[in-house]
Amino acid sequence: MSATDIMQFIGIASLLIGSLAVIFGALGLLRLGDVYQRMHGAGIVDTGGAGLILFGLLMLSPDWTVTVRLILIGFILVMTGPTATHAIARAVRLSDQEPDNLKAKKNSERGRG
């Protein structure tokens, strides 16, 4: 097995695992409880999913110009992804949505008082 074969194998494996991560992220968006928890599901899509797919494509890239573009895409995703997630989280908090379990606790306290 030559070096390119090994790189191809790693690339394809990483693409498959990345796609699986995206599926799990989508499943998380559907299954988890409130907005905050669902955001963690989306987090898998932008980090594990996008990261592994980009790494896979990097291993399979035919020449250096494609490699440079893929690295730039990765850098931009790492910079913008968390900022966007934070913007959503902050907007949810500013709209006075409390996480599910904290809300339940507050209600029970109110019930006792």
Binding site: G28, R31, G48, P82, H86, A89, N101
Partner: protein
């Protein structure tokens, strides 16, 4: 002035990497567009330490591998919770940050959001704290450990 030169150099390098055209006229035009964009950015007042935090950007490669490892580990943790949503014990914790610059604080908050299982919900600049929503006890506890805080502070180099 230094910031304008630096920004022009970075933008021109980016343009050279992406354009694929290397004749005299286009090289000159590319240079002037990079310079023009930098001058407009300087006039907008966004080319300061916050807009172009070179100190942090230069040191990023130092923590990249560690960060990728953390991201992969917590990805597995979140997948486990997704497969069994009963494991979720969402909670809010307030994390103390030791960063001295605003760019450092933002980097810390971004790193917290970048590792799945924890999302930074609110950043308090005056108190230097970050309000974090954790998916389970373990994720929330991992944020409170001084590990990530120390790594981000080492990026600031102060």
């Amino acid at each position: 002035m230094r910031q304008i030169a630096l920004s022009t150099a970075l933008l021109y390098a980016l343009w050279l990497l992406l354009s694929g055209h290397y004749n005299g006229l286009l090289l000159t035009l590319g240079f002037f567009s990079a310079l023009g964009a930098s001058l407009i950015a300087a006039r907008m007042g966004v080319l300061d330490e916050e807009g172009l935090p070179m100190a942090i950007l230069m040191r990023l490669p130092k923590v990249t591998l560690w960060l990728i490892w953390e991201i992969l580990k917590s990805n597995m943790g979140v997948v486990r919770v997704i497969l069994n949503p009963k494991l979720a014990r969402p909670q809010m914790v307030s994390v103390k940050a030791s960063q001295k610059t605003v760019a450092g604080l933002v980097t810390h908050a971004n790193f917290i959001t970048l590792t799945p299982g924890t999302v930074s919900v609110d950043v308090d600049e005056t108190e230097n704290t970050i309000l974090v929503h954790g998916l389970t006890d373990a994720f929330a506890a991992a944020c409170l450990e001084p590990d990530m805080d120390a790594k981000v502070s080492s990026l600031e180099g102060k």
